[in-house]
């Protein structure tokens, strides 16, 4: 009995691995057709951190070159790494969930034997291949131009890569959970706006977490956001010790598992409701 179960579990994992590798490759090939569009899109993404970098360096300069333990070169390093995270963290657009409900797209996705979240995750990973091909030379150029204080050691790079991947999963899973509310409320744009506004402030996106007031930092500790932005960045720029970084990765895993359970719970409820409507 248990042997059989284990074999079916093993087959499932084998199937998932094959599915992911194919789907990632397919998404990557697809996106390589749209080189100009992707280039423009990456350039658009870079504007945001440049704005923050300019503002905080201006403030730092007016305060004698350092605020909240960040020097000009630290800010530069922070926002250059930020750009990597921004691309890593791209998730499903909230409009996509609305679109799926309104156009009855879930019906089609429900027919598949595999949970549609796998398809989304694999697609999002493959989709970023071209983004990185474009981003890396830009980062190197910006690095030469702006001179960030950035000298990660081997373990920092390794943990940074793991933290990036887990950060992406934290964000995608929680966004998916939020997206599932479209089964109950069709107009979710305002809910997503609120979600992203909080993310902007409490994730380390607009400002490093150390610069937030104490109460806001405490509040951020109860939310998943910083594990997708602030934490991986701080690992790369050397603001996390080895043990802090490893603990952080553990916390990331907890947020993923928590979000996953929530997704499965909402999914089961939502699908019942969805079919009840008769779409």
């Amino acid at each position: 009995m248990t042997g059989k179960r284990m074999r079916s579990r093993f087959n499932e994992i084998k199937f998932l691995t094959a599915f992911y590798s194919l789907r990632v490759k397919y998404a990557a090939l697809l996106v390589f057709q749209y080189r100009l569009a992707t280039f423009l899109w990456v350039v658009g993404l870079i504007v945001e951190p440049v704005i923050y970098l300019v503002i905080w360096s201006t403030v730092a300069r007016e305060q004698g070159g350092i605020i909240g333990g960040y020097t000009l070169a630290d800010f530069t390093a922070y926002y250059l790494v930020w750009m990597i995270l921004r691309v890593v963290n791209i998730g499903l657009h909230p409009g996509a969930f609305e679109w799926r409900v309104r156009n009855g797209r879930w019906s089609h996705l429900l027919l598949r034997p595999l949970h549609p979240i796998h398809d989304d995750i694999a697609f999002l990973i493959g989709n970023k291949a071209l983004d990185f091909v474009i981003l890396i030379p830009i980062l190197i150029l910006l690095g030469l131009f702006f001179r960030p204080d950035l000298n990660p050691t081997g373990w920092q790079i390794l943990l940074f890569i793991i933290a990036c991947l887990l950060g992406f999963l934290v964000r995608t899973v929680w966004q998916w959970a939020l997206g599932l509310t479209t089964f109950w409320v069709v107009r979710v744009q305002a809910i997503f706006d609120l979600y992203f506004a909080i993310e902007l402030l409490l994730s380390g996106r607009i400002v490093p977490l150390d610069l937030l007031p104490d109460w806001a930092q405490r509040l951020a500790n109860f939310l998943p956001y910083q594990w997708s932005f602030g934490f991986p960045i701080e690992v790369a720029i050397g603001r996390q010790t080895w043990s802090q970084a490893v603990t952080g990765i553990g916390i990331q895993l907890c947020w993923i598992v928590g979000g996953w359970i929530l997704v499965m719970f909402l999914w089961r409820r939502g699908v019942k409701r969805y079919s009840a409507v008769g779409a």
């Binding site: 658009g44 704005i51 201006t58 305060q63 909240g68 107009r187 305002a190 706006d193």
Partner: protein, 261 residues
């Protein structure tokens, strides 16, 4: 004169159409409130570390933020929806229907769509400007207010011309939906006075995507920092963009061969 009448009628129909969807108003209200709260928090955060940002005080930056919100609202209400529809119709070849009408086609394609509820952002923007004004150290003169309104008008024309230019490129290049994404991320740069950006970015924000002229200049007029040179630059850039967009539009029309092509 006839153009103005047509414009007015289209606007009225647009408003009546949108007024049917009351829920949209509340959704917009909620979204504007979220955006406003975020903007104010960020401003408070910056000014918790410093007294002034590149010689702009907090109330003065409130005015920049107000102008930015107001302009964003105007773009959402009328400019962007019309230009997106125009691009779609050029791609699909359905622009023909518009060209057979006797009125100037540029006027027609600019007023057909109205997302009226985004007017909330215009109101919010004006309120922020008013609030900033109250907190300014020195009182604002009538001349400053008039100059401010004039510069707002120029700013609107600049955004309109910029969008028409971008939309007209659809006559030659087809896939350009990313333009909206790029514009929206660049538009965020206008939340701060362009003077704080490095020269290369400031140049882009003056001559390529003229946010600096359309958002910073009105705020400069209001806070008494606009020099005569700056004024002439604003008028010049507006004339340049307006003329160029009209030219490219007409050129594109000659190039356009319709659905049967």
């Amino acid at each position: 004169m006839n153009s103005l009448r047509v414009l007015w009628i289209f606007l009225r129909v647009g408003i009546m159409n949108e007024a049917q969807y009351r829920v949209n108003f509340f959704v917009q209200l909620l979204q504007s409130a979220i955006a406003l709260a975020t903007g104010l928090i960020v401003l408070a955060l910056v000014f918790s570390y410093t007294e002034s940002l590149n010689s702009w005080s907090q109330p003065e930056l409130l005015i920049v933020m107000g102008v930015h919100t107001l302009m964003g609202g105007l773009i959402q209400v009328i400019i962007q929806p019309n230009m997106l529809r125009l691009m779609r119709e050029i791609q699909e070849g359905t622009l023909d229907y518009m060209l057979t009408k006797p009125e100037d086609s540029q006027v027609l394609v600019s007023v057909r769509e109205l997302r009226f509820w985004s007017i909330v952002d215009v109101a919010v923007g004006l309120a922020i400007v008013g609030w900033g004004m109250q907190r300014l150290a020195s009182p604002v003169t009538l001349a400053q207010v008039l100059l401010f309104l004039l510069m707002l008008g120029l700013g609107f024309l600049i955004f309109y011309s910029f969008w028409l230019l971008v939309a007209s490129t659809a006559f030659w290049f087809i896939r350009i939906s990313e333009i909206v994404t790029i514009f929206q991320s660049l538009f965020q740069a206008g939340r701060w006075p362009v003077g704080i950006y490095p020269v290369w970015l400031r140049t882009i924000l003056t001559f390529v995507v003229p946010l600096g002229v359309a958002v910073t200049v009105p705020a400069e007029a209001f806070t008494n920092r606009l020099s005569t040179g700056g004024l002439f630059l604003a008028v010049g850039v507006t004339a340049l963009f307006f003329g160029a967009s009209r030219g490219v539009w007409l050129w594109g029309l000659r190039n356009y061969s319709g659905a049967s092509a």
